[in-house]
């Protein structure tokens, strides 16, 4: 199968990153190519020294939602970073940092977790995305 999907990740909370990781891993398991573009708070969450920290949840989670997410993690649900690592092991997953967000947040390539393959501008992202559907999370 030669089709692909593209994800633009903006939010840096653990629940939204988990949703993005699930979408990525599922697509990779089907043999799809996945282009991921990291902007702002999602990019910040990929800092090597912060990737394993608690990044909180979207505001709509509330206390009950937070408890449910915490219970799933305790029961052994893979973290979003681990899910992405396994997706990358399958191949076809390319993760690029938005170069503007790198500038705004004063992030150097060496600050980022090895999950991130490089940095690019939005034009390169669109070129690589081609006609694939683009999902913004």
């Amino acid at each position: 199968m030669d089709d692909s999907i593209s994800l633009v990740l903006f939010s840096g909370t653990d629940d939204r990153l988990q949703a993005a990781a699930v979408m990525t891993a599922g697509a990779a398991a089907l043999g799809k190519t996945v282009h991921i573009f990291l902007q702002y708070w999602a990019l910040d969450a990929f800092r090597a020294d912060r990737i394993g920290l608690d990044h909180g949840l979207a505001p709509e989670a509330g206390p009950a939602g937070a408890a449910a997410v915490a219970a799933a993690a305790k029961a052994g649900q893979a973290s979003w970073a681990d899910t992405l690592r396994q997706a990358k092991d399958l191949g076809g997953v390319d993760i690029q940092a938005c170069s503007l967000s790198m500038d705004v947040l004063h992030i150097e390539p060496s600050d980022l977790d090895p999950l991130v393959d490089g940095a690019e501008g939005v034009t390169a992202f669109y070129l690589n995305a081609g006609d694939s559907p683009i999902i913004f999370i």
């Binding site: 699930v22 599922g26 899910t83 396994q86």
Partner: protein, 78 residues
């Protein structure tokens, strides 16, 4: 229960979506045409997911069942 010759087994019990499928895709890469992969999973979504994965990738489910909350799939490398 089966007389099929299983080349590889994946125990995905307790793993949540999409990990059973991710582990399956990883394991299938190591097999060759005609070889069989057995997967055990407890994720309730796995029944539809394995059908969809098999259809999409062309590696058919040749046997499936459920016992005591554990789903079992045997897939054949295309």
């Amino acid at each position: 229960m089966t007389t099929l010759e299983i080349a590889q087994r994946v125990d995905a019990k307790g793993l949540s979506c999409p990990m059973p499928i991710v582990k399956t895709a990883q394991a299938m890469k190591a097999l060759t045409t005609g070889q069989l992969l057995e997967v055990l999973a407890t994720d309730p979504g796995s029944v539809k997911d394995f059908e969809a994965w098999a259809k999409s990738t062309g590696n058919p489910v040749v046997e499936s069942g459920a016992e005591a909350g554990v789903y079992r799939f045997v897939l054949q490398h295309k």
